[in-house]
Amino acid sequence: MKYVDEFRDGEVAKGLANAIAAEVRPDRRYNFMEFCGGHTHAISRYGVPDLLPESVRMIHGPGCPVCVLPIGRIDLAIKLALENGVILCTYADTVRVPASDGLSLMRAKARGGDIRMVYAVTDALKIARDNPDKEVVFFAIGFETTTPPTAVAIKQADAEGMQNFSVLCCHVLTPSAITNILESPEVRELGTVPLDGFIGPAHVSTIIGSRPYEFFAEEYRKPVVIAGFEPLDVMQAILMLVRQVNEGRAEVENEFTRAVTPDGNLKAQNLVSDVFELRRSFEWRGLGEVPYSALKIRERYAQFDAEARYQLEYRPVADNKACECGAILRGVKKPTDCKIFGNVCTPENPMGSCMVSSEGACAAHYTYGRHKDVERDVEQDVSSEVASHGHE
């Protein structure tokens, strides 16, 4: 496949792997967080960790839009479908996220809710046009990448004078989440999450540009390398991060120059600021209430705001007690640190949101990497055997 295979070439990967191995210092470890679920997925799907030296560890960040959606928000969407009788449209993974009362949007659908999976918000507009006697709500989730299309849809609905379309806006912002992680006690004071740098988002950065990350590099002394979602992009970014760490630099570098500019997509930014404004605070799964971390629809477009239209009141709901999604999303714990990973919580029956989306840390590890846990156990068994023989 032209334009894609070039970024998945095994030979080039080998070369990069050798370069990384040659650059890492034997006396230190390198802990990098990939913010985006897109990177998490690429790393797991292509087996990137197999090509990295043992001293380089990738920590999965919170950049999976489905994963950070709190239960309370899904409850609102379910209420709209079951009690208000709207046609609720949303992106596919969202329908499987567990909500209150053992429900999910998929289970709400089985109970008679008219819930439809769409690939684009324009499909929701079409459904609204085709069903003039029904109310249609688009459950809008995602980071800066999916926000401009929602803005366009709202403006389009406004231009067409559509009376039966609205948006339950749950769009969130990347920089606020990164700040939240860097400000968290685990990173700042306790040092339980050693973070040496970030792989910056690919698609998000095409919209917001590379400039917003400069603050993190300067204020928190953390290198950021913006990278594309192909596995070679990730390898190249890791090499650049290793070099920054070795040289004591903390800069924003851009590996993804084929798509990301310093200023980003100004047209998209203007569209977004025309339709949306900052929320004072928004609950994230795992991170809790994060100030100014999400968007809401401006007063001017209030008739398209499902929260106003149906007078929805947000009620936060605590996660399942055994679920470690919160700590996993902050990078404090690994999926395998969670007691219910793989036994109670599986992709077929997810308890937490990280097990739902293929971009979630738990789903990615379960689907692509759980053979490594077994190998690790075997290695440990072997080494303990060797050790016990040594004592004899």
Binding site: M1, A13, P49, A363, T367, H371, V374
Partner: protein, 350 residues
């Protein structure tokens, strides 16, 4: 000389503009007419002609293989096929990959009130063609009609019966460490052909379903004399699901080479666009086989000599693994698990 008596005093079935109505399932004249003028006309044979509540079949000196499959595909007509042909191919293949020779089929139709008879005729003709190509006979059938809105055009359930010659024993629990795994051609074609025509997704991709009967290919493979242990057709859930099933049944691990797995460029591109993995996408005219390593070349040659196996390749090997993990060396150089798909990637694919 034409008879002065009008034939049966019935008005012929309006296959141009007519539609299925409740009387077509009501047990009365309209139903009988649908049977004779449409189903029997295209699918008739000496067994169906017995016209009783059941059908006598000749005695068979040996083991029989039976398989049943319901078909609910949407859309009913898709690039490269339709529900009629698919309902024959799907069941013929399930019998054929057991190593059996498919002989008979039964078919149950659930029709929705209002469904155009012209479309039904196309579907029945397509079934007839598929049955003739596979050399199987429809020996029993049933039709029910449900009210408009209670079905989706046509659902077809077929049951296949085949004869299993002495000495053939294929089963998902027979894979052994050291065996090799072969696939008969490109994967993901059927699922992506369906997906390309889904109303909320439609994209213009030149992808045709691979829907076809594989009993010719399986016969050629068995005739090669290779020690085949397992054959399967990787339909719903794709290659990944089928290989995982075998690994679990046999209690072995299976290692795949991503670079060896054939995928059409258009299928790969469409999967990329939609964030799908070709290994999870359904096939309706492909099979995988596991055989002893020393027989792999012989089996591969036999497959490649058959028109339906020209692109056959070895894609992996069976290893010892109590966890029954399926792993794959990626083209990128890493290693990952190949897991069952969780949830539903695309409902009503077959």
């Amino acid at each position: 000389m034409t008879s002065p008596v009008k034939k049966g005093y019935t008005r012929p079935l309006d296959l141009k503009h007519g539609r299925v109505d409740m009387s077509h399932g009501g047990g009365g004249r309209a139903m009988v007419q649908l049977m004779t003028d449409l189903f029997a006309k295209h699918l008739g044979n000496e067994y169906l002609a017995q016209g009783n509540d059941g059908t006598w079949l000749p005695a068979c000196n040996g083991r029989l293989v039976v398989s049943t499959d319901s078909h609910v595909v949407s859309p009913l007509f898709f690039p490269g096929g339709d529900i009629g042909g698919l309902s024959v191919h799907g069941t013929v293949n399930d019998v054929a990959v057991m190593g059996a020779t498919p002989l008979y089929l039964t078919a149950g139709f659930i029709l929705e009130e209002g469904f155009p008879l012209a479309d039904l005729a196309r579907i029945v003709e397509s079934m007839a063609q598929a049955a003739a190509e596979a050399g199987v006979k429809l020996v029993a059938g049933d039709t029910k009609v449900v009210e408009q809105g209670k079905g989706d055009g046509v659902f077809i359930t077929t049951t296949g019966i085949g004869f299993l010659a002495d000495g053939i024993h294929l089963s998902g629990d027979l894979a052994q460490p050291g065996d090799v795994l072969l696939v008969s051609g490109t994967v993901g074609d059927h699922g992506m052909a369906i997906m390309s025509k889904r109303e909320n997704l439609s994209f213009d991709a030149p992808i045709l379903s691979d829907s076809a009967s594989l009993n010719g290919l399986t016969a050629a493979m068995l005739a090669s004399g290779a020690a085949i242990r397992v054959m399967r057709d990787p339909t719903r859930g794709g290659l990944a699901a089928t290989i995982n099933e075998i690994a679990h049944q046999s209690g072995v691990g299976i290692h795949l080479e991503e670079a060896a797995i054939p995928v059409q460029p258009a299928v790969e591109a469409a999967c990329e666009l939609l964030g799908l993995d070709p290994l999870n996408i359904a096939n309706e005219g492909k099979l995988i086989a596991i055989c002893a390593a020393e027989d792999a070349d012989r089996l591969l040659a036999a497959m490649r000599a058959h028109p339906q196996g020209q692109q056959a390749v070895i894609i992996g090997k069976v290893v010892e693994d109590a966890n029954a993990f399926v792993q794959m060396k990626t083209r990128f150089g890493g290693r990952r698990m190949v897991d069952w798909l969780s949830g539903e990637q695309l409902p009503r694919i077959c």
